[in-house]
C-alpha cells in the first residue's frame, strides 16, 4: 500500500539523514541502506497431532564489517521481512554507537507461540538452527532472545547448534540462563547503563549529581535499577509513576524526601504496579499517572513505554528540567523532540541510553568464548567503562559538530560502520 507506514522505509530515511550529514558516497550508501545477506527458509515441524506444518523463518544480516553480527530472533505471527530488515539495521547502529565489535542482524519465525505447545516450539527452534547452522555461530552471527522468545528457546537453539557442529559453542547465542552460559549483571545492565551515561552528562554540564532530583516513569526492571544506581550516586528520585493493573491506569508516587526503590519493590506486583494504600502508609503522595512529567526536578527518566513524551505532555515539563534520559525504547515523539530541542534540554537518546543491554550480551558472548565467567562486579565495571566512553564519543561529536544528541548518536554509529567497510576495501 503506497504511502503507508513501513518500518524499513523509516529506518532507511533515518540512515539517509545521517548519511547526508556525513556526506557518504553512493556505494557506501547503497551498501548500508540494505542488508548484506538475507536467509529465507522453511521450517517443517511435526505437530503434536502428528501432522506436519511448515513455518517460515528468516535471518537478515545487515552488516558485519565491525564483527560478527548480533541480533534477536522474534516469534511473531505477522512477521514481515521489512520489519526484520529495519530491526537488523538498527542493531548495526546500536552496536556501533557503544563501540562493541559486533554487526547487526535480526531473525524471526512467522508463528504465534500462543498456538504452540512447548514441544512444538522446541521443534521450531531446532528447525531454525538447522536451516542456518552454517551461517551463524560465535564468529559469524550471534542470535539472542526478542519478542516472544525466551532463555529456554535460546538453550534449545544452542543445543541444536552444538549437536550439528560437534562441539560446544555457547558463544553462538546470548540471553541464556546463568549457569548455562548466561552472564551475571544482565538484569541490572540496561538501568545501570542509562545511569552511567547520565552521570557523565551531569559531569559534563558541571552539575553535582548529589544536588539533583529526578522523576521516573515506570517501575519495571529498567526503572528499578536506574533508581537504585542514581540514588547510590547521591541523587534524589522524588517521583515514580507505575501502572496499576487493577485500576487500568497509572499513578505517580511522590515523596519529597526521596523515593526508596527497594522499599517500593516490596509493595510492587509483577506488572510493576505499586500498592497505593501501602505506599500512602509509607508517606508517598499518590497522584495522577501523567504527573511524573510535571515534577519540579532536574532529570526526567522515561523508562516505561514508547511514545510517552508527546507534543502535548512535553509542554508540562517543568522549568528546572535539564536532562532527559531515554531508558525506554522510543519514548519521545518527533513533536516532543522538537520541543526538547527548542528548550535546550539535554537528551540522552534511547539507543545510547539503553545500550547497556546489548553491551551485556556482548560480554556474555565474550565470556562464553573464553569459557570463563566474570563476577557481577567485573561485568558492571566493564559496562561502566564501555558506556562512559560511548557517551563521551557521542557528546563530543554533538558538541563539535553542533548536532542534536540523537542525530550525533546516529552519525557516530553510521560513520564507524562506514569506516570499517571502507577499511576492509568493500567500498
Amino acid at each position: 500500500m503506497k504511502g503507508s507506514f513501513n518500518a524499513f522505509e523509516m529506518a532507511q530515511a533515518q540512515f539517509d539523514k545521517s548519511a547526508d550529514i556525513l556526506a557518504l558516497d553512493a556505494p557506501t550508501r547503497d551498501l548500508l541502506r540494505w542488508p548484506l545477506r538475507e536467509f529465507h527458509f522453511a521450517i517443517p515441524v511435526r505437530m503434536d497431532d502428528g501432522k506436519v506444518k511448515v513455518f517460515r523463518g528468516f535471518r537478515v544480516q545487515h552488516n558485519d564489517a565491525r564483527g560478527p553480527s548480533k541480533g534477536g530472533i522474534r516469534f511473531h505471527p505477522q512477521e514481515t521481512v521489512d520489519t526484520v530488515r529495519a530491526l537488523s539495521m538498527w542493531m548495526t547502529w546500536k552496536c556501533a554507537v557503544v563501540d562493541i565489535p559486533l554487526g547487526g542482524a535480526k531473525g524471526g519465525v512467522i508463528c504465534d507461540p500462543h498456538n504452540l505447545s512447548a514441544r512444538e516450539q522446541e521443534a521450531i527452534c531446532r528447525g531454525w538452527v538447522r536451516q542456518v547452522a552454517k551461517n551463524v555461530g560465535p564468529a559469524i552471527d550471534v542470535p539472542a532472545p526478542d519478542v516472544m522468545t525466551t532463555p529456554q528457546h535460546m538453550v534449545w537453539m544452542m543445543d541444536e547448534w552444538e549437536v550439528i557442529h560437534g562441539h560446544r559453542g555457547p558463544g553462538f547465542i546470548t540471553g541464556k540462563p546463568v549457569g548455562m552460559g548466561g552472564s551475571l549483571g544482565r538484569t541490572e545492565a540496561t538501568g545501570y547503563g542509562a545511569m552511567y551515561t547520565l552521570r557523565e552528562a551531569l559531569k559534563k554540564m558541571g552539575i553535582d549529581v548529589a544536588k539533583t532530583k529526578a522523576s521516573v516513569q515506570g517501575f519495571g526492571n529498567v526503572a528499578q535499577y536506574a533508581i537504585q544506581l542514581y540514588t547510590k550516586m547521591g541523587g534524589t528520585v522524588v517521583a515514580v509513576s507505575s501502572w496499576d493493573q487493577a485500576d487500568q491506569t497509572s499513578y505517580t508516587f511522590r515523596r519529597e524526601s526521596g523515593v526508596d526503590g527497594a522499599e517500593l519493590k516490596t509493595i510492587t506486583d509483577p506488572f510493576g504496579g505499586i500498592d497505593k494504600a501501602k505506599a500512602k502508609a509509607l508517606g508517598y503522595e499518590v497522584k495522577a499517572g501523567g504527573d511524573w512529567i510535571a515534577e519540579d526536578v532536574d532529570i526526567l527518566i522515561p523508562a516505561a513505554l514508547e511514545n510517552q513524551v508527546t507534543g502535548e505532555t512535553a509542554r508540562r515539563i517543568g522549568k528546572r528540567v535539564k536532562v532527559v534520559v531515554e531508558g525506554a525504547n522510543g519514548p519521545t515523539t518527533p513533536e516532543a523532540d522538537a520541543i526538547l530541542k527548542e528548550r535546550g534540554i539535554f537528551v540522552i537518546p534511547d539507543f545510547l541510553a539503553n545500550a547497556g543491554g546489548v553491551t551485556c550480551s556482548y560480554f556474555e558472548q565474550v565470556q562464553c568464548n573464553m569459557n570463563f565467567y566474570w563476577t557481577q562486579e567485573e561485568v558492571l565495571t566493564k559496562l561502566d567503562a564501555k558506556m562512559t566512553k560511548a557517551f563521551h564519543d557521542v557528546a563530543d561529536l554533538a558538541a563539535s559538530r553542533k548536532l542534536y544528541m540523537r542525530d550525533a548518536a546516529y552519525v557516530i554509529a553510521v560513520s564507524r560502520v562506514a569506516k570499517a567497510s571502507r577499511d576492509r576495501g568493500w567500498v
Partner: protein, 930 residues
Amino acid sequence: MTPGDHLLEALQERAKELSTIYRVNEACKSPQSSLDEIFRSVVQILPAGWQFPETCFARILVDGTAYGPAGADATPWRQSAEIRVQGESSGWLEVFYRDERPEADEGPFLKEERKLLDTVAERLGQVLLERRLLDALQGRPDAAQANEPGSEWRVIVDFLRQTDPRSLVRISRRMINYLCWNGVAAAQDLLPHFAGGREALAADDNRPAPRRSAESLLGVADEAFRLASSHLTSAEIRSCIQKWIRDDKADFLLRAAENPGTSTTELAQALARFHDSHLDDRRLSRTVQVELRVSLARRFLTDDLEFVDVAKDFIDTGDFHDLVRRVISPPKSYGRLGGKASGLLLASKIVQKSTEFADALGDVRIPKTWHLTSDGILDFIEFNQLEDLYDRKYLEIDQVRREYPHVIQVFKNSHFSPEIVKGLSLALDDFGDRPLIVRSSSLLEDRVGASFSGKYKSLFLANQGPKADRLSALLDAIAEVYASVFGPDPLEYRAERGLLDVHEEMGILLQEVVGNRVGKYFLPTFAGVAFSNNEFRWSPRIAREDGLVRLVPGLGTRAVDRVGDDYPILVAPGQPGLRVNVTPADVVRYAPRRIDVIDLESGTFETMDLDRLLEECGAEIPGIEQVLSVADESGLHRPYFLDWTSKKGRFVPTFEPLLESTTFLGRMRALLRLLREKTHGPVDIEFASDGKDLYLLQCRPQSFAEESAAAPIPSDLSGDRVIFEAKRFVSNGRVPDLTHVVYVDPEAYAALPDATSLLRVGQAVGRLNKTLPKRRFVLMGPGRWGSRGDLKLGVPVTYSDINNAAALIEVARRRGGYVPDLSFGTHFFQDLVEASIRYLPLFPDDPEIRFREAFLRESPSVLAEFAPEFRDLEAVVRVIDVPKVTGGSILKLLLNADEDHAVAILAPPDPGPGSAVRSSRSAVRRRTSG
C-alpha cells in the same frame, strides 16, 4: 410407634448408640455367620452402647439357649426386651449391670438405652425370621416337610400361608397374571376372583360386592400354584416367587415414596426399614426398582425429567438411605434438597459407579455433606412470623437494595425451630471441628435457563471452639444465606425471568471444607472449576470440547468468581500444551497473587497475599511443590526441591509441575468426559485438592452458567437486519443491547502514513472507551487488537483502552493470497475473560457470511461528539449511534457455539425493567458460585 420405628431416632441420638447399632447390624448382615455366631457377637457388642460399659454385660435367650459371658449371673439391675418373630415370642434380650449405679429413667438405665435395646431386639427378631425363611428356601432339614428336588417353592408357599397370608394372596395374583401372559387359558378363569367384585358391581350397582373371605382367596392361591406347577418349571416358579416376595417387601417404601403426604421423616424411617430388612433394590424386579428410584429422586431431588432419567441409573435406594441419614428437616417436611445438592449427589454416584475411565479417573472423593431441606426456610419464616417478607419482592428494586441490610439483621436475630437446631447440632458432632461451607441449594436453580450462579450466598465457617459457639455461628450463617433469597440481585434476576411469584425454597448444603491446617490457616492446596465446553478459546487450535480448567491455590472462590485484579491459571485439558501465557514475564504477571484461606484463629475468611502465606508457612502446605515454579533473573524454573530459605528468586504459582508431571489433567479430562456422557450434556464442576486427594465439590449442567449459555439464533435472518455474521471460532453468549459500534476501517487504517497516526487511532479508541456508554458498545477493527510489534497489524491499544467495551471483534480481510492471523485476544486474553468481554473473529471474505460493510462505512459517524480531539481521524475511526441511524433500533450480538454461528442483528430495544445491563458483578466477598 413400633420398636423398629425407633431405629432412626435412636440413630440420631448419640454417636455411641449409633456405633452400637451399626456394629450390631454388621454382625447380623454377615451371611456366613451362623445364628450362634451372630448372637455371640451381639452380646459382646452391646455393653459399649451403655452408659457404664465396664460393669455392663448382655445375654440372649433363644429357643432355650442362653448366649452371654461365661459365669455371668443375673443381677437386680436388669433391662430386657422380648425377641419376637412374626408376632410370636421367641426369646429375650437382656442387659445387666454387675453393681449398683445411679438411678436414671429406668432403674439405672437411660431411656435412650431402652430404645437401643428394643431396636436390637427387633433386629434379632428379623434375623431369626430371615434365617428360618432361608433355611426353608434352601431346604434345610429343620425347614420341615418335603425336600424332594425342585419343590422348594412349595415350602415357601406353605411358609407364607402360615406367616403372611396377605402376601401370599398378592403373589398368587401376580402368578395368575404371569400365567395369563404366558397363554394359560385356565388362568383367566381365576382372574375374576381377584377383581374386587367388578362384575358384581356391573350386575347390580346398588348391592355391595360380597366380601371375599381370606379362606376363599387362599383357595384361589392354591389353584393358581397348581396351574403354575403344570405349566412352568419349578425353577421358574421359585424365581418368580422370590422376586415377588422382595417386591412385596419393598411395597411399603414405594407407597411411602409415591405418596405426596409422606413427610421427610416418615420417608426416612421407611428407607431405614427397607435398609434394615436387608433389601437391595438391585434384586427387585426392574419395574419396581425403577419406580422406587424415580419416586425417591422426585421426592428428594427434583421433578426435572431429564435429571430423573439419568439419576435412576445411578442413585439407588441404598444411596437414598445413606443420604437421609444426613438430612435435617422441619417436623412436617415435604422439602427437597435443591439443585446444587442434587447435582453433586448424581455426579458423585456416576463417578463411584461407572467403570468407564475408572483407571484414568482414579479415586475422586466427595467431602462429607449434610443437607437441610428446602422448606427449612419456610419453617424459619413461619417460626419467626416473617411472612410479610414475601411482599417485599414486589417492591422497587432500589428500595429492596436499600432495605436489604436490615433484612439480613432481622434474619440474623431470628430463631430456628428446635428440630432444626437439634439436627444441626447432630451434624456438628459428625463434622467435628473441620471448617465448613454453608452453601445455598435453591429449587429454582433446577430450572433450565435460570442460573442463580453467584446470586445466593455461600459462607465459610472456621467452626472452631466450644460447640455452643460453633452452633451459633452455623445458625447465623444459615440465616444469612436465607436472607439472600430476599436480596436485590436474586430478586431482580427473578423479576426479569418471571419467577417472582414462585415461593423460592432454598435447601442448604453443609460441606466440610477440603484442605489442611497450615499454621493458623485452613486451605486446600489448590482448587478450581472446570467446564466441558471451552467458551474462552485463546487459540484456534483449541476446540470447544477441549474444556477449560481455572485453577487457583487455596480456596476455589477466586477461580469461581471473576475477581478482576487477580488471575487464575487457565488450561484446556484437551490441549494441555497450549497455554494462554507464553513468555516467562507474562506467565509471572498472570499468575495468581492472592489466596483465599480460612483463618482458624480469628474465625474469618481471608484473602491474603500468596507471598505472605508462603513465607509464613509455605513449607507446611502438602503438595505445594506441585503448584510452584521459581522466577529469578534467568527466567522461570521448576525446581527439583523448594528451597524455602533462599532469598534468590520468588515462588510463582504456575501449576507447571501439576500440569506437566502428574495425572491431574488426565483425571480432569476423564471426569469431564464421564460426566458429560452420563448426564448427556456439558457440565461445570468445582473441585479441590488437599494435596493428596482430588475432591468433587459441585456439578451442574454447564448451560446453567448464564455467561456460557448459547444464545438462540433467530431462524428468520432475512432482510438487512443482519449487520455482520460469523461462522468460525464462535463461543457462547449474548450482548442484548448495543447502542454504539466503533468501527476502525481496515483499509483506511492500513493507509495511514506514519506510526504517530497509527498510535493516535489507539488513543482515539481509548478516549471512546471512556466516553461511550459502558458495556454497550462493540469495537471492530482490523487484525490484532493490542498489537505490540508492527502497528499496522492491529490497533495499538492496551486493555485499559478497551475495558468498557461489551465485545471485541477482529476483522480479518483477505490480503493478497492469505487471510491474516488474528490474535484471539491473546494480548489481554485473561483480562477479557475476567471481565466477560466477548471476543469474536470475523472473516468478511467468506462467501457464506453476511457483512454489511455499507452500514459500517457509510452510516453517519458521531466520533466528533464523543472524542472531538480526534476529529481528524473521521475516515478511520467511525462511531455509529445505532438507535439514531436506525430510528430507534439497537444491535443485538448473539453467539451460539453449538451452531458455531454468531450474528449481530438490529432489533427494537427490549421492553422491561429499565436497563437490564446493570452489572451483577457486585462481587460479594466470601461468595462462591452461589
